[in-house]
Every structure is written in C-alpha cells, then in structure tokens.
C-alpha cells in the first residue's frame, strides 16, 4: 500500500478522531429506515446517518429504476429524496435526525434498496422504447390507464393523507437590506451593512452560518489582512462572532427564500411564512456542484467532491476506503489531502486538461504522499452493480478523445467528481435580472455593475452566485455590495464612500495574478454598461 499516512480510529462508520476537527456528536437516537432501526446521533442529517450505517441506495431513477445514492449533501440534487414521517419528497441531506423518525424510500418496489422494477434497466428499452407508451395503445382508456400506472411507478412519492398538525404562522418583516445566504459573501455583506447602521435581515437555509466554509479545514490563501493562513472553519466562526456583535443584524437560520416578487421576498422560517419587505437585497446563494458525463455516473458511490467534504468534515463520517478524484482544481486537490487526513486512501487524481487546474502547492502536498496525478486523462466508466467497485480511466488525445489501448483499471470504492460549480441563480432569474452565460464564471450569471448591483436596481449579488471564485473573493464582494447599498440608502456618509473605493482596490489587487485573470476576463463580459457611480 503506497499511502495510509494517517491512522484514524473509526467506529460505526464515523471518525472518532481527526487531526484538525473535533466532532461533537449529540445524544444517540434511533431512526427507522424502511422499518429497520438505525443508530444515529443528534445533529446528524438523515442522509449522513444512513450513510454511516452502510446504506448506499437512497432512491431509484424513475424510468430505468437504476440505483441512486448520496451526491451533493447540501440539498441541491434530488438523489436522496425520501418520505420522512409521512411527508414525501424530503431531501434527507437537509433534515436532521429525531428519535423515532420514520424514513421510507419512495421509489422502487418494495423499496429502493431491493427494487423489483430494477429489471426495467435491462428490458424496458425492448418492451417500451422511449415514448412508446403514448403510441403503443390505440384505445384511449387503456392508454390512460397505462400512463397513470407508469407515473405511479416513477415514485414521486404520495401526498400525505394526514392533515397538517404543525403550527403555521405568518410574519411580515421590514428591513433596509435583506441578505439571502449566510456563507462568506452573505456574512460579509451583513457585517458591512450592519456596521454602518443599516437594519439587516440575514437568512440562511441551514441551521448554522458559514455556508461551505464549515467544511474547509485547510488554511486559506490570500493576505493576512484577509485572514490568510487561517483555516476556513475558523474564518466562519470569526465572521459569525463579528456578525453577532452587531445589534442591527437580525439572523434567521433554517429560513429558505423561495421567491422574489417585485420588491418583496417570500421565505419560510421553519414552519413560519415570512413576507420580507426590504429596501435592498443582496443575493449570496452560492453555487452547486456539476457532474460529469461518463458511463455509470449515476451509480451510488459517485459523489460531488463537496458532498464528500460535507459528509466527512461536517458530520465526521468516513466516505469509504479508497477514493478516486476526477478534476484537479483546488476543490479536487484539497479534498484529496482531506481524505488522506481522515485515513482514507486516494487512488488517483484524474484531470482532462494537460495541466493541473488548481494551485501547484495543493497538488505538491498530495503528490509527495504518493497520490498519482494523471493529466490528460478522463474517467470512462465506473464499475460495479449497486455501488462503485472501481473505475476505468484512459488517456486523452489532442482532440479530447480517449486513446484506445490506454485504459487503466483503478481500484476505488467511491469517486469524487470535482469538475467545478455552477451559480445558484434561480432567485435572480425570478427577480428579473438580466443574465448571461459566462463559462469563466461557471455558467449563468447576472449582469452587474462594478459595485455588484444587477440590472434590477437594489438587487445585488456577491459570492459564487455572481461567478464561481473562492471564499476570500466572496468576502470582498459581499463587502462591496453591502457598502454600495448602504451608501445608496444614504447611510455611512463619506467614510462609507471611501471604504467602498478601498474595497474595490483590494479586490482588483487580489485578482491581479494569473488565477484572477480568468475571473476578470469573465466579469468583463457581464459588466453593465450603465455604471452606477456615486
């Protein structure tokens, strides 16, 4: 064995110790999965507790009934949807365990793990070629019957029969600035708006602040002024402490914004409906992970890199014994190192580009521990029937085509897809912001002024939703958006105006290197012509 650098004690699928993190598990509880009792700890999500118990199949795909497992762990995909305490279509990666909770898979017969309909993966194309259900039956009655039965088989869950028993209530909230998202960009925006006296409401769907910083165990880059050399997890705490000291900031956790209606925002805080009437909105909703096309990429065991970080660094659950990393950007490189720290082997890092995408120093620190890095290689397929048991990779030629004869079988029991992120832009679309596809920024992003104001006056963006970059830049952008909004509201005076220009300069300097070039090039493509000067 080439690695095994870290030796970490594991109990019940959970890491007992870790070089960087301390896992404070809550009270032991029992949850029921398809009737089977499963041990879990308070503070864990349902999906992570199931994962720790060795459960890998969370649902079935609706046509072929192929097994689907854990993927993103942050509520962006739908692979983990199940029925929880009678409520269908619950993303189990976002729901926390409670003693006695009843969890059922809702796709497959009798359940997703052992699905009788899984046979359709082999035969359905012969019996029912795609779309044939609409043409095969001439008799309308029979056709409608078949269609309704097919829809039932897809397993989108059944509406609960019980009446809602909770306490639904309603609240109207007025504020100067609403910040949607409590990650680095959102926290920075709230801090910088709050410190000039603006009345801020910060909402986040999670029960904690910090966004994706909570799984970043590595020390950050940048300058000391921007907390370089400090671990991401600590930066989350530092920002939170700063934020909680500001009396004019109202923080609402477990609060999901579901829509922007003109100048108002609808949100749900636990079981309470919120009608938020802000003067300005900062959208800092972050990004979600992309996936990659290859054979068997839906097999349980093919995960988003960030999903694995969440599982391992937030909930302390060992993702597997040996991972393959697809993508050598910073996320893939950092994740490789984090896996080694948690006592998990890394089989290889595969990169389609002719060179490593992330920082060299991140690559060097795993390479010197023996992790092979294959540039100009891609993954052809994942091996295994119900879960990943290996992978085939191959070298690519100049035209990005796999070169026959270069296939290599790699031993792994999970695969981390680290091929980048896409901005979580839905609220911006709904708000009516003009959007543009900018590959350098990760996908669809809003046009914006240099102060991060979108084409809709009073709607700002900051962080990955404005263009996928990294946390230090997100913090800087949150500051710019918030201070501009503050100045437009007539607060802060000359001091705020001065700080705004400083903040712009800081960011410009930060992006001056080759890694910033791509971002700057992307931003030039989506800068609004009508610059709003102060």
């Amino acid at each position: 064995m080439p690695f095994g650098i870290s030796m970490v004690e594991v109990k019940d699928g959970r890491l007992v110790e870790h070089p960087i993190l301390k896992f404070n598990r809550g009270r032991e509880v029992t949850i029921y999965f398809n009737g089977k009792p499963i041990k879990a700890y308070e503070g864990e999500t349902v999906a992570s507790a199931l994962y720790a118990a060795g459960i890998r199949v969370f649902s079935r795909s609706f046509r072929w009934h192929r097994p689907r497992g854990f993927f993103c762990a942050i509520g962006k995909c739908s692979a983990c949807m199940m029925e929880v305490d009678g409520v269908p279509n619950v993303r189990t990666c976002k729901v926390y365990v409670r003693d006695g909770m009843q969890i059922k898979t809702q796709t497959g017969f009798p359940n997703a793990e052992r699905d009788f309909f899984a046979i359709s993966d082999k035969v359905i194309d012969r019996i029912f070629p795609h779309g044939s259900q609409y043409t095969k039956f001439n008799n309308k009655l029979i056709r409608n019957f078949v269609l309704s039965q097919l829809r039932k088989m897809t397993g989108f869950g059944n509406a609960p029969k019980k009446e809602f028993q909770g306490n639904a209530s309603y609240e109207e909230v007025r504020c100067d600035i609403l910040v949607i998202g409590g990650g680095p960009a959102g926290m920075s925006a709230a801090i910088n708006a709050g410190k000039y006296g603006a009345k801020v409401l910060l909402i986040d769907e999670n029960p904690f602040l910090g966004g994706q910083l909570v799984k970043q165990t590595h020390r950050f880059f940048g300058s000391a002024k921007h907390r370089a050399g400090t671990r991401g997890i600590r930066i989350a705490k530092i920002l939170e402490e700063e934020l909680r000291k500001i009396p004019s900031v109202d923080i609402r956790l477990e609060t999901k914004a579901f829509g922007v209606y003109g100048r108002e925002v609808g949100a749900v805080e636990k079981e309470k409906l919120l009608r938020i009437i802000p003067k300005k909105i900062v959208v800092a909703t972050g990004a979600y992970e992309r996936t990659l096309i290859f054979e068997n990429n839906d097999l349980p065991g093919v995960y988003g890199a960030g999903g694995v970080q969440t599982l391992m660094n937030v909930y302390g659950i060992k993702p597997g014994n040996r991972g393959l990393i697809v993508g050598s950007g910073n996320v893939g490189l950092i994740l490789s190192y984090q896996l080694l720290q948690a006592g998990v082997d890394v089989s290889a890092i595969v990169e389609a580009m002719p060179r490593i995408g992330g920082y060299f120093v991140h690559a060097a620190k795993v390479r010197r521990l023996g992790v092979p890095i294959y540039v100009r290689h891609t993954i052809l397929r994942a091996l295994g029937k119900d879960r990943v048991e290996g992978a085939i990779i191959a070298q690519l030629d100049e035209k990005w085509k796999p070169i026959p004869g270069t296939e290599k079988k790699l031993d792994c029991d999970f695969i981390c897809v680290a091929v980048g992120l896409s901005p979580t832009h839905e609220l911006l679309y709904q708000a009516g912001c003009r959007m543009k596809f900018v590959p350098e920024l990760g996908g669809l992003v809003p046009l914006r002024s240099k102060y991060n104001e979108t084409s809709v006056e009073g709607v700002y963006v900051a962080g990955d939703v404005a263009g996928v970059e990294e946390a230090t830049a997100a913090i800087m952008n949150g500051r710019i958006a918030a201070i501009h909004a503050v100045v437009k509201l007539g607060l802060g005076g000359e001091e705020a105006k001065k700080e705004l220009e400083e903040a712009l300069k800081d960011l410009e300097e930060f992006r001056a290197g080759p890694f910033g070039e791509r971002i700057v090039c992307g931003i030039e493509k989506c800068i609004l012509a009508s610059e709003v000067e102060l």
Binding site: P19, R219, F360, V361, H362, A512
Partner: protein, 161 residues
C-alpha cells in the same frame, strides 16, 4: 510549466538552495512555491523582511542571509510549501516540515522519508516537534537524516511496527 503536469517540481524549477555554509550556521527557510498565486502570509509573518514579494501574486523569494530561521513563516504557510533546512556539524542533515496527520509524531519516532514524488528514499528520526495544539493543528516536525537527503525529502510517514 512541467510542475503543473506532474504535481511535483524538478530542481531547475525551484529556487537555488542556500549555500552549505549558510545551512551549517543555522536552519534556513526554503520555499517551494514557484507558481504566482494570490497568497502572502509568509511575507507578512517575516520579522526581518527576508522574504521579498512586491505583489501578492508574486512567488516569494527568500534572502538566505537575512533569514534567521525563526520559523514564523512555516507556521502559517497554507500551501505546506516551506521547509527549514539545516546541515549539522556531525555531518547529519535536518528538514523541518509541517505535519497534519494522525497519530501525531513524537520526538524519537522513526519515519520513512518521502521525496517530492512520494518515493521512500530513506529512514529518519524525529528530533523535535512543535505540538499541533500550539499551532492551530499544524504540527512542525524536525527530522534528522543523511545530509544529502535534505535536498529532496519533503514528507515523512511514521514507520509502523
């Protein structure tokens, strides 16, 4: 840029080593950070301005004569790219590196010495440790080895009985 194709740098892609004389006097910081990235904690942590960096994106350049071996930079480097090198009177060499794995290394532990590619090139002994809890979970370990190995050993792995 071949270091970005392989994940490790060749000697010609790295800064020149400090002179033997300098390394014999006391330990000195050697930084393997050839790529321009926006990062400057080493520069900011240096109390004697031995690290030159005009812009946050510039790779650091160490003035080996100014460097006092205080280890402020190696404590904070987020890239784990700084190594303290020393040649001892008795003909042995020492490399100090950042270490973030379990179990933590202790003075006297025998370790396998790994080069930049992860190949085992020898066996060394830990002769000094800055415990992880005193440096936000990044332990510093100083490893004693053959003098000629200090130019290539960049990681260690505990020898397990």
């Amino acid at each position: 840029m071949s270091y970005l194709e392989k994940g490790y740098a060749e000697l010609n892609e790295l800064p020149p080593f400090p002179s033997e004389e300098r390394m014999k006097k006391k330990s000195v910081a050697y930084i393997e950070c050839p790529q321009p990235i926006p990062c400057s904690p080493c520069y900011e942590s240096c109390p004697v301005d031995a690290i030159k960096m005009d812009n946050i994106n510039d790779p650091p350049v160490v003035d080996y004569e100014k460097c006092t071996g205080c280890m402020n930079c190696i404590r904070v480097c987020p890239g784990l790219a700084i190594f303290m090198l020393r040649l001892r009177e008795d003909g042995k060499g020492e490399v100090t590196l950042q270490y973030e794995f379990l179990p933590w290394l202790k003075k006297g532990d025998k370790v396998e010495l790994l080069n930049r590619k992860g190949e085992v090139v020898g066996i060394g002994v830990v002769n000094w440790v800055l415990p992880a809890e005193r440096n936000d979970q990044t332990s510093l370990v100083r490893v004693e080895m053959d003098a000629k190995l200090i130019y290539e050993v960049r990681a260690v792995r505990k020898v397990r009985e």
